[in-house]
Amino acid sequence: MSQTGKRASTAAESEAAAKRRKDDEEPKKSAYESQLEKLAESASESNSTVTDESNWERPPFDQDLGTKRPVAMQVLDVETYVDSGKGYDRTNVKLYGITKEGVSVCCIVTDYFPYFYFQTAQRNLNNLLAGAIRRIGSGGQHMSTEVTDNLVHLKIVQGRNLYYYRGTEAKQMFIKVSGTQPTLNKAKQVGTLFEANIDADVKFMAHTGVVGCGWVEVPIKKGHVVPPRSATSRCQIEVTCNYKDLIVHSLDGEWVDIAPLRTLSFDIECLGRRGVFPDPTHDSVIQISNMVKLQGQSEPFIRNCFVLGTCAGVVGSHIIECKTEQELLEKWAAFVRTVDPDILTGYNILNFDLPYILDRAKILRLPIVSMLGRQKDRASGVRDASLSSKQMGSRVNKSIDIHGRVIFDVLQVVLRDYKLRSYTLNSVAYHFLSEQKEDVEHSTIPDLQNGDDQSRRRLAIYCMKDSTLPLRLLDKLMSIVNYVEMARVTGVPLNFLLTRGQQIKILSMMIRRCRKEGFFLPVIEVNAGDDSSYEGATVIDPLRGFYNEPIATLDFASLYPSIMIAHNLCYTTLMKGPQGEEGTDYIRTPAGNFFCTKERRRGLLPLILEDLLAARKKAKNDLKKEKDEFKKMVYNGRQLALKVSANSVYGFTGATVGKLPCLEISSSVTAFGRQMIDLTKKTVEETYKRGYMDGKCPSDAVVVYGDTDSVMVKFGVKTVAEAMEIGQHAATEVSKQFVAPIRLEFEKVYYPYLLINKKRYAGLYFTRPDKHDKMDCKGLETVRRDNCPLVANVLGTCLEKLLVDRNADGAMTYAKKVIADLLCNKIDISLLIISKELTKSSDKYHAKQAHVELAARMKKRDPGSAPRLGDRVPYVIVAAAKNVPAYEKAEDPGYNDIPIDTHHYLTNQLAKPLARIFEPILGDRAEKILIEGDHTRTRQLKTSKVGGLAMFTKKTTKCLGCKSVMKADEQEEAVCAYCRPKVAEVHLNRVTTLNATSRRFGRLWTECQNCAKTMHEKVNCSARDCPIFYRREKVRGEMREAFSAVMRFGQPTLDD
């Protein structure tokens, strides 16, 4: 039985639940499935209705908590604050967390003082100290020594600078300055500073050993429960505790668990004006939907929607009707305070929903609405925060502090972790869940809102879908568990993982280790303009080609971490120059830097990395042994977090705008890496000559490609099994050349292998001799957003034919056919759609851009349905006269019958990617063959049916067979007199087309009806992002044409 299960049922058995408990005891089941059921049951039992407010509050807690029982809680949020009062100021720390029973706790940690160190050239530190203290004293003449001591306290301590090995382990003298945060900030103008630039909360956590999402315990008698009247927080229980009394649990055994966190997912709807993006100064909030779920359960236990105006009920959901917007917002804020969620989620709530509500509250002068956090006296505010990171580039996000709660925006998670074509909720849901959601057009929202209670109900259903999907995505991606584990592994609070860059995680680990070993982190001045770089990883020149034979791949496992461990590369081992004997006392790296050997001093980074790798090994082991599904998820998240962390240490040392840059380390790491790849290539090629291994090697081995940490070797064998045997052998042999723990591993065989260029290749991936695991592609632009889906589809099929069917001719024939079809206008328009996000209004773009111009044109046609800021604008490139600039050639794919610029698609979209995969086979002529071959001779231009000459054409009845104009007396017939003898044939042609079309019509529209998950209601979806949106709209016109043609053969009649 899982811990989570136990928790939930314990919660259910608490007083309120006990009261409601029915006579029938639930049967005892052990299987996992019944576990989930039971969770749902117990949740519903304690709150038998979600259709009212009775289950909003957290279940009441055991009154002995804090007095007779210790308070053990999982730490979710940490904040430092200045507590002015009781004679002198202090900087206290608040820990917000949840107990195993789901009780929300605010723990005020006292008597901790932030600190930093400095070093001065002055000899007599004691004198210096005395002088300093005197000066502080004279500043506050009437203060007691206790007060001055606490304001700023100076102390001499022993320690070592993190940077450089100075040939001795002797410690140096430092002055430790501690006090309240504001006074510390003033005191920073002295000497060479250490650790003064590190966030107070991170330092507090490092100092006490508390990690993000870890468990801490306030022992009985040590803690003091604050009476509810004088509590400062909205948590169920508030305790104070001296920092020295706080017990920090290690993350093993029962403390692996994750508390039953409450996650609130919400979404708002605004009453926009036609064609304008909602603006909080004008547009009111009309609905807010909410889903609240407990960690570990699969279904939300609160489902509600606050609506403005009357609204028909939705079974299974609680509809809260509000008369005014003020009532709606205030009721919602009160709901949030009552539900007391630990995590707030939704889609883009950080940059849209939350700021909108808070801005709206300001405009309507509703201060209570901004009281969303757990601090009674602190409102939530919005400010801009820019974040720049090597990994994601720089971007500006809103920063919102909802004290004690974590904002876990699913959009931010997906942006960080996944590279996708589009990040709209619809396409993200489609990508991960293979599901679409019904998307209402902005312009229909006012109609629905201004309609009746049934139309508002419809709107409420959409709104609730938008708050359900983020929860489903979090579950599917296991984001909460994985982020919790990342917080635990790196030690930072959960919200840092989404609001801060990569560095803080490594810094947090560094500072913890440094504290343990007595090292101090110097404050490094960052020169923003200084972007000195170093040589990166090596890439062996690829021997481009299509290898229809097994290619073995040898990889260095955790290459950079193991280099750092093997060669003892660290800040603490870096030397300014050689000292002693090379080899015994120091090494000289291939980059020309000097580091002391581990016999002299073991580096800190290697220690950290060793711990991370060992911990990952353990987590993987635990994962294997664990039976409980929830704990398995936790261990999996942990091993992932450990892997990611180990791999980012190297990057941390190389970040020039970071807290602790040390290019000597990072350039040495890459230099070792390059050397190793070259050595591997040399060894393999020299050893595995023809006849080696008792003749198992049929020819001399050739390294066809290598990149960073892997080399691809052609051993000349015919089967995957042989390649695996030799590959395994080579991995073991070559590994002997390297210092432990550097190890070359044999992982996979590619067969066949299409090596296109540096960083671009594809192949069938084998880890077993009999069957391939997958088709692996690297560097092919399939996810590039400015490609139309046709490119990905054609590339996919060509690669499949090439690699899986091993039919190069077939692949080429297919590619040519697609090109021929494209030029003859036979490609489905939905495959030609390109989309770009409209990020700013047109006058703010420097150069004219196709999608911006199109959006402006669409706005002229219909301001209601035109794309707004932040929307993606889908478009196709249409044929136009020669001198028409490119940005005028974009058109709305749904706009009438538009002539496609097929040539543009061929040369700008298809040609390059296709040529690239055929080049290894055909050589440089590939592109020429593709775009100039015989298959490109026939072209068909579609002429527009609107505008120009089209308006002068007159509609006449034509023979369905030969298309000749029908005579006056034949108007009612299907075919002309000449075609009458072959009318059956003509009929068959027409009806076959009709059938193909009707099949599409049926499948597409029932798909939409299914996706909308209703059978009695109309599908109101306008999701232009959806791959079937244009198909489904288009098939209606095709159907009309095909159907009316067939009907000309006569109205069907019955025979008796």
């Binding site: 038998s48 259709t51 359960q297 028909a312 079974v315 299974g316 959901s317 972790d417 996944y418 489609y430 990508h431 991960f432 293979s434 679409q436 109900r457 579950d475 599917k476 991606l477 929830f630 997958k774 592609c777 399939t782 996810v783 990905a792 996919g796 499949e800 036979k826 490609i827 489905d828 495959l831 059956a984 044939e985 068959l988 042609n989 087309t993 009707s998 049926g1002 499948r1003 597409l1004 029932t1006 798909e1007 009806q1009 996706c1011 998950k1013 209703t1014 059978m1015 009695h1016 959806c1026 791959p1027 198909r1031 209606r1036 159907f1043 009316s1044 067939v1046 009907m1047 006569g1050 109205q1051 069907p1052 019955l1054 025979d1055």
Partner: protein
């Protein structure tokens, strides 16, 4: 006597030898001797299946499918209520889900929607296609236990949707059935079913005691595809024509053949494209090809019909693959679709399904799309269809259907059939099934001729069903 040069070799045709040109050509026709064959009266009751101008105005394809479900619901609601009062509690009245208090026992009526993960879906196909060459991603989510996709059922009344649990199984019903549920709302959005009912069944006419002493023949799934048609199938067809026209080698056979008064061809005379492949094609749909038109196949069918009508009355139903709009109810072929046999007065064009009374017996004949979509056992499927009181409950969901605006002609409202015949089934099967209040129905599954080379014979007098096989093996 009959003579066919292809049959001279003892032991039948040697099919492995060079392909023998067995065309359904004039040589055979000349060999068919004229025999007398009786006719029996029949009445076609399928008018409601015809598309009227009101059903199909020029913009009818701007419609969606929900009106069909609404019309179906409206047509069956009162009949469900009737049965609920009869079988559960006469004092029950129908309630709406939105008005129900928690845990309140009540009767609700609405449409069943099965949410099945394996339901074919264009959207899923496209997603798979798009992710075919997605780069390997180490962070790709592993199997998440909180994210389980299980099949379940939903139920929709006029305004609300709930999930179903309790005393109702996925296999009990089909998507699109209108049923009455007695139970209560639990767990907020679940409806716990205690008892449930089908719509009341339409009345069944008295089966005449005196039945005509004749046989009817049913054939389906010729699946001709022009030149690609299997030689075996062509040969079997030859034999069929000869036999049915009374050219049996034995007198007993001739007599047997001549007792057949009507021959029903129940759809898929022309090979239908592979639906699974087609679905996939639609998903990727790189090109909008002009669909492949098999003129040869049509000519062969035309030839076959023109031969058959010389000796027997033929009833022709459109089916999957045939040149008729594939949406149910399928419309009769226009006579111009068959140049040779189309104008014969012995050829009757039918809708699919077809509601027809022959010799006082009410038949429901279909080409089987509606049946095979529900179960591989025709008897099981038809039994469910009859309980549902709808000829094709899964249409338009998984069987293509016409987007009607204000009616659902497939609701069973005329009479309860005595005999239901479904073509193109995976196996021959027949069984008499009993229903409410003494209603009973003989269910006949007709297999595909292209697979079994056999036709199904139904003795109208004894109501016995048998298979007649044509082949050389």
């Amino acid at each position: 006597t009959c003579f066919n040069p292809a049959l001279t070799k003892k032991g039948g045709l040697n099919l492995d030898e060079s392909p023998i040109e067995i065309g359904l050509d004039a040589t055979i026709t000349s060999m068919v001797t004229e025999h007398h064959r009786d006719t029996i009266p029949s009445k076609n009751n399928s008018h409601r299946f015809l598309l009227t101008p009101a059903d199909a105005p020029i913009d009818c394809f701007t419609r969606q499918y929900y009106p069909v479900y609404r019309a179906r619901f409206e047509a069956l609601r009162d009949r469900v209520e009737e049965n609920a009062k009869k079988f559960i509690d006469p004092s029950l009245s129908v309630r709406r889900l939105e008005d129900l208090a928690d845990e309140e026992m009540a009767l609700v009526i609405g449409t069943i929607e099965k949410r099945i993960d394996s339901r074919p879906s264009v959207l899923k196909e496209i997603a798979e296609e798009e992710q075919k060459i997605q780069e390997a991603d180490d962070n790709a989510p592993a199997a998440s236990i909180l994210f389980v996709k299980k099949d379940y059922m939903e139920f929709e009344d006029e305004t609300q949707i709930v999930k179903l649990c309790g005393n109702i199984e996925l296999t009990d019903v089909t998507t699109g059935s209108v049923v009455g549920l007695y139970g209560k709302v639990v767990n907020e959005n679940y409806f716990e079913v205690q008892q449930w009912v089908w719509p009341s069944q339409v009345k069944q006419n008295e089966l005449p005691d005196e039945r005509p002493p004749y046989t009817m023949a049913f054939i389906s799934g010729l699946n001709l595809s022009g030149k690609a048609t299997a030689t075996k199938t062509r040969a079997a067809l030859e034999l069929l024509i000869r036999w049915i026209s009374g050219c049996g080698t034995e007198e007993k056979e001739t007599e047997k053949a001549l007792r057949i008064v009507r021959l029903f061809i129940c759809g898929s005379s022309i090979s239908a494209p592979d639906l699974v492949a087609e679905m996939k094609e639609m998903a990727t749909s790189i090109t909008r090809e002009d669909p492949f038109v098999d003129q040869d196949a049509l000519n062969t069918v035309d030839e076959l019909i023109s031969q058959l009508v010389k000796s027997i009355e033929v009833d022709l139903l459109p089916g999957l693959g045939d040149p008729s709009l594939s949406m149910l109810p399928q419309q009769p072929f226009p006579r111009c679709a068959f140049m040779k046999g189309g104008s014969s007065k012995y050829l009757r064009m039918h809708t699919n399904p077809s509601d027809i009374n022959i010799g006082g017996i009410d038949f429901l004949v279909s080409s089987g799309q509606n049946v095979s979509d529900i179960s591989s056992s025709p008897v099981e499927a038809v039994t469910l269809i009859l309980k549902t009181q709808h000829y094709a409950p899964t249409c338009p969901d998984t069987v293509d259907g016409f987007p009607f605006e204000d009616r659902d002609p497939l609701v069973m409202d005329r009479c309860f059939p005595h005999i239901v015949v479904a073509g193109n089934q995976s196996r021959a099967e027949s069984k008499r099934v009993e229903f409410e209040d003494g209603r009973s129905c003989l269910v006949v599954g007709v297999p595909s001729f292209s697979e079994t080379h056999s036709i199904t014979l139904l003795d109208l007098d004894t109501l016995e069903v048998s298979q007649k096989h044509f082949g050389f093996e």
